[in-house]
């Protein structure tokens, strides 16, 4: 039996899908692109441009289709759907990469617990209402969420308050839910911003930090040797700008005496800036010329003692105040008395 005829006929009908080139064609299936790295044949180019271009394109397209049809496919109602691989050529992006948003409070919890959300079932807008036997909006026009508010009659239980207003109660509930959701949303946004931005944007925190650093610096230098010979703890930062200026030992006498007197006058000037002992205070008191009721406060404010006593005792007088104090003293702060 001579099958060669049949084979020849068959071969004529069915054309081959082979692609033969010197260098294999570079197919990027992800971007549906094929690049032919073979140099252009000058002769065929010169002879007939359009046919040369057509044959070149046909070869390239055949190679591309060979690759595309070899991809794994899924069937769909409209025909075979080929799953494309990731593209090989790198093209520049249009916009920069999105910043990774921190997870919301619920998302963190769900992740920790391993809860996977109802991803596929989204909340449908329509809800089936058994009473009316029809589909009603979950929210929006004539919606289910406002039914209790809008209906003209509501069943109220027997033990309810006389002033119970079911409409108002339902409306308040709904509004409360809305505000709660908004608050949670804002809290999530604030948390996202906080983790996103650095500490420099929070002025209070920065101020507190600075305060601490200043106090620390002060405490470190308040030793006898001004913090110079103390051992440094682990993690302490190096002190900056602590320099002590020593005047030359030989200076003018007048300058030295002037400096000493200035210092004394400074010490005497403002009671706030210096700490005075009890012994020092009477010198100040003798200077004042108020009435017997007034006392000069160490801070320099005049205090009307009678007025103060009247206020503290709520009009009852000083003896009443004294009695109160004794009682409080006996009982102690908690009022339970001393334990023996």
């Amino acid at each position: 039996m001579d099958v060669s005829n049949i084979l020849a006929d068959h071969a004529e009908k069915i054309k081959s899908t082979e692609v033969e080139t010197d260098t294999p064609l570079d197919v990027d299936a992800g971007f549906l692109t094929v690049t032919d790295p073979n140099p252009i044949d000058g002769e065929s180019y010169e002879s007939s441009l359009e046919t040369h271009l057509l044959s070149l394109a046909r070869t390239g397209t055949q190679a591309l289709l060979n690759a595309l049809f070899s991809l794994p496919t899924t069937s769909s109602p409209d025909g075979p759907l080929a799953q494309l691989p990731a593209p090989t050529t790198q093209l520049p992006r249009t916009k920069p990469l999105p910043k990774i948003k921190p997870l919301t409070k619920w998302e963190q919890f769900a992740k920790a617990k391993g809860i996977q959300g109802k991803s596929k079932e989204k909340r449908e807008k329509k809800v089936w209402d058994e009473e009316r036997q029809e589909w009603i909006n979950r929210w929006g026009k004539d919606a289910k969420n406002k039914q209790v508010e809008e209906q003209w009659i509501t069943e109220v239980p027997m033990n309810a308050d006389i002033d119970f207003d079911p409409r108002k109660a339902a409306r308040d509930e709904r509004k409360a839910r809305v505000t709660k959701n908004q608050k949670q949303h804002e809290a999530n946004a604030a948390r996202a911003q906080k983790t996103g931005s650095s500490a420099s944007s929070n002025p209070e925190r920065e101020a507190h930090k600075k305060d601490l650093e200043r106090t620390l610096a002060m405490s470190r230098t308040s030793t006898a040797s001004m913090g110079k010979f103390d051992r440094k703890l682990e993690g302490e930062k190096k002190m900056k700008g602590i320099k002590r200026k020593f005047d030359p030992t030989e200076g003018s006498v007048s300058a030295e005496s002037k400096a000493a007197l200035d210092l004394l006058s400074k010490m005497n000037s403002d009671a706030r800036k210096t700490r005075m002992t009890e012994a020092q205070r009477p010198s100040k008191k003798s200077r004042t010329s108020h009435g017997g009721n007034e006392v000069e406060d160490p801070e320099g404010k005049v205090l009307n003692v009678r007025k103060a006593v009247r206020f503290a005792s709520k009009g009852r007088g000083g003896a009443a105040l004294g009695r109160e104090r004794e009682k409080a003293g006996k009982l102690g702060k908690s009022g339970k008395g001393k334990r023996r």
Partner: protein
């Protein structure tokens, strides 16, 4: 935008969110702008290219004064840059095709690519031998279908100008990363080929030799039956065909380019799928199913546990109940083991 726009209703909020950067990006929207003087050829070219690019294309109807390749320090250069940036932000577009004609540069087509609202790079070319889509008889491809692209010449991999041109054309037509496509929907192919490389062309230095011409042809594909699952393709010319002569260009700013080429980090699921590394031991058979090879290590047959394999015992087939024998046998073994342990 000039000032941050706060959305007033849910619709505008959705529109704003759609414009936020995404990990996997959509196709680039191209704006077709006409310069002060265009001409019939360029009008046709831009109309045809827009038809190929639909629906991600916007055409400006008015003529605009725009010279993107003027130097930045000149008035026209800087104002062109700012116009491009403004149009890009307003229309959420990232590619421009500017058509202009002048005595010095007839039928001048400029491709501009943007990144993050700033101009990334520009390629300018002159159009010659333009054949419009209407003048070619025959059926055309359905608008909106993705084109196949074909680049023919070794210069597209070696010469920097042509690498840039290839990247630009790919961004314009085929830049979108899709997961799957209908094989029946591949209707047309855009073929970009070059004239033969002249011997004096040097890829590294900016030599004075003129660059070979670029031929752009568009064909519709016809799939014919072949012996195997893969059809044989035949092409018929369709659509616009033109020859480009490369003129000026700008190279992208290296810093900006580095940012533009950043890839998102591969997620763990993708690496497990084998995306990060080459997929070994997987291939698709003739039926289109994915087949994998599992390599089991070498088994030391001398140490194989054959005592507990009832099927290998001599009397296994003779008795009726293989299972029964097996169960009782195993129970006996376990019972005896237990007895041994207790004692």
């Amino acid at each position: 935008m000039l000032r941050t726009v706060k959305p007033k209703n849910a619709r505008s909020k959705r529109a704003m969110e759609a414009r936020q950067p995404k990990e996997v990006e959509d196709a680039r929207i191209a704006i077709f702008v006409k310069g002060t003087k265009t001409g019939e050829v360029l009008n046709g070219v831009m109309k045809d290219m827009m038809a190929l690019k639909r629906p991600d294309a916007i055409s400006f109807s008015k003529k605009n004064v725009i010279h993107p390749l003027d130097a930045q320090n000149t008035a026209s250069g800087s104002s062109s840059m700012s116009s491009l940036e403004f149009w890009s932000s307003k229309n959420d577009a990232s590619m421009f095709v500017i058509g202009q004609t002048s005595k010095k540069r007839p039928n001048d087509l400029t491709f501009v690519r943007m990144f993050d609202g700033k101009v990334l790079d520009i390629v300018e070319a002159g159009v010659e031998n333009y054949v419009s889509m209407e003048s070619v008889p025959g059926s055309k491809s359905t608008p909106g279908h993705k084109p196949l692209m074909h680049f023919a010449s070794e210069l597209f991999d070696t010469h920097p100008r042509f690498i840039q041109l290839k990247s630009m054309l790919m961004s314009l037509f085929n830049g979108e990363v899709v997961e799957s496509i209908y094989l029946k929907g591949l209707e047309h192919v855009i073929s970009v080929s070059l004239a033969p490389t002249p011997a004096t062309l040097n890829t590294t230095t900016e030599s004075a030799t003129p660059l070979p011409k670029v031929h752009i042809r568009t064909y519709t594909t016809r799939l014919l039956a072949s012996g195997s699952r893969i059809p044989r393709v035949e092409l018929t010319p369709m659509g616009p065909s033109m020859d480009l002569v490369l003129r000026r260009h700008t190279n992208p700013d290296p810093e900006l380019l580095k940012q533009a080429m950043r890839r998102p980090k591969l997620k763990k699921t993708d690496v497990e799928k084998g995306l990060g590394k080459k997929r070994k031991n997987l291939d698709v058979d003739e039926m289109g199913d994915l087949r994998g090879r599992v390599h089991v290590g070498k088994q030391d047959l001398s140490r194989l546990q054959t005592r507990k394999m009832k099927g290998l015992k001599a009397g296994a087939f003779e008795d009726g109940g293989d299972d029964g024998a097996g169960d009782s046998g195993s129970d006996d073994d376990e019972a005896s083991n237990k007895k041994r342990k207790l004692s």
